[in-house]
Amino acid sequence: MSEEFEPRIVAFLCNWCSYAGADLAGASKSEMPPTITPIKVMCSSRVDPVMVLTAFLRGADGVLIAGCHPGDCHYDKGNYYTRRRFAVLRKILDTLGLEGERIRLSWVSASEGPRYAKVVREFSEKIEELGRNPMWRSV
């Protein structure tokens, strides 16, 4: 018996740009799939790769990291580090047998409500396509 697969996606949003962009998307009543739950961090550079891996090991189907556009980071260069960590994460996912597309890094500014909504919709569709995290229930 197959259940309708509803992805569980964790979204790390930085307090300054991307969380505000997400709020604006909400305030503009942009419809977004119910698959994403945001976790607010002060800066996208707070996102430890281990956190992302833990999310997957616990059964998350996808992880979205959003921060300020390069050059706009509230903490000067934080998002440059995020970018580098993301690149490493992509490689690690391969060794775990997880598709690299299960994580996404997006730059969302405070005024980009529609863009955030688009990213969420696209990412959610992608995760639906990829299907459930193969590690779910096996850990």
Binding site: Y19, A20, A25, G26, T37, I39, V41, C43
Partner: protein
Amino acid sequence: MKKRIGVYVCECGPNIAGAVDIDRVLEAVLSLDGVAVAEKYGLLCSGDGKKYLVEQVREHGLTHLVVGACSPKQHELTFMTVCEESGLNPFLFQMANIREQVAWITPDTEKATERTIRHLKAAIRRVLYHTALEQKEIETNPDVLVIGGGMAGISAALSLGSSRKVYVVDKRDALGGKALKYEKSSPGMANSADVVENYLRGIETDENIEVLTNTNVEEVRGFFGNFLVKLRENDAESDARELRVGAIIVALGMDPLDSEVLSEYGYGKIQNVYTSLELEQANVDGKLGMSGGGKPKSVGIVHCVGRKEAGYCSEICCTVGMKIACYLQEKFPGIAVTEFYQDLSIPGRGAQVLYEEARRAGTEFIRATNVQLSESDDKIKISYERDHDKTEEKPVDMVVLLVGIGPPADAEKISNLLSVPLGKGGFFTEEHAKISPVSSSIEGIYLAGCASGPKGIPETISQSEAVAGKILAGLVPGRKIETEAKTSRIAENLCMGCQTCLDVCCYGAISYNETRGICVVNEVLCKGCGNCAAACPSGAASHQHFTSRQVYQEIAEIVK
């Protein structure tokens, strides 16, 4: 003490109540560990709503508070204040955004209710792991060290001297800097040297300002409000002097661009080719004229010298060129002055007025590229391309090269001493080019004048006064500084001294303790971004209020 969490869901009128089955949500969360009470309320951010929350905390003896409502960006501060009013530490609070992130974007009530439960449970599980953070207060020293005694340093000192002790340090044997070398300051054409003399008299008579010429900064330790500075006189035999200050102003000024560029224009080889600074000095000394004493009948003023190599425009040279034209026309009536420029950079009405005056006095302006100088008979031949195709020539008696502005000679040395990075052009880098142009990224170290980039005197004074404004506002004698509460911490027992955290910190807030072999966070400088916590390979560095454990609680609930 047993944890008692109070969970309150705001109806927000119909915004949340109309989209989410709040009763079901309350039922679902009551079953969680630690939840003592779960209620809904019409509008929690209203005056009544806030009163209600304070009463609830007291009535139920709550130890933690969770609110499901609008965005924390709107009302997190509101509810943190409610916590304080009810006797709770404001950090034992978590807000779940169920309006912008759920109610407003999920038309299906069933799904919206499910999401709300998920969001709230995540917040409840997280808040159990919150710690009661406190903002620290530290004593500060309000005194100021000014490095550099030119226009920037002097005007900053004068703005600050009435309220605290100011030390003006300069490696030269007198204050005044470059501005003393100008008869007038463009574009306004006020008397520069006079004004500087006035400022210097002001410094002499201000008891709070101590001038230390022939002195170098040897070492700087500490942080905002608590710097320890070591000074030593040029004579290396002398003893060092230690000072305690709360703020440091980098006012090193500028040096003209490299002389290598000048030699391409025949400087040093061809007679009567001068740099703008040399001409200014000669003018102030009353020695304006040709070498050998003759009066020039024609002068060519060449703009943008060194610009191509430097890669930037030095901003003031166009008006300096017009100023020099005015000097020459005054001293040698009838002289033919030609300005060879690339682009006239003359923003503002004042600069335009000067330009029009120069034109009226007979100055010729030629847009020219590829300017080259050579000797021809006893004149200097200037050959140039006008309009990119026609090569023309003009013989003149004298040439003035408007040399661009470069960083001060000591920039690297002071940059290393203070850990303030150098950036574009080799100038000191601002904390933020647009919204924090007179601060460096090291708290308590400010930048004024050409040290951070080429600029004229009015802009320099604006920066000095701005720095004074920041110091007068932020470093008040007797007042303590409050630090950020959500700072990072490094657990000594887990730290292996790899210094990865130090490398990633954009604020210089982490230092390495050689004796103990560990890294330490300075909570005064820490801005709470969490980068070090993410970078730390051993888990020693943690970001208070955003610890891995706290985040895992949220993750665990989200993926269920």
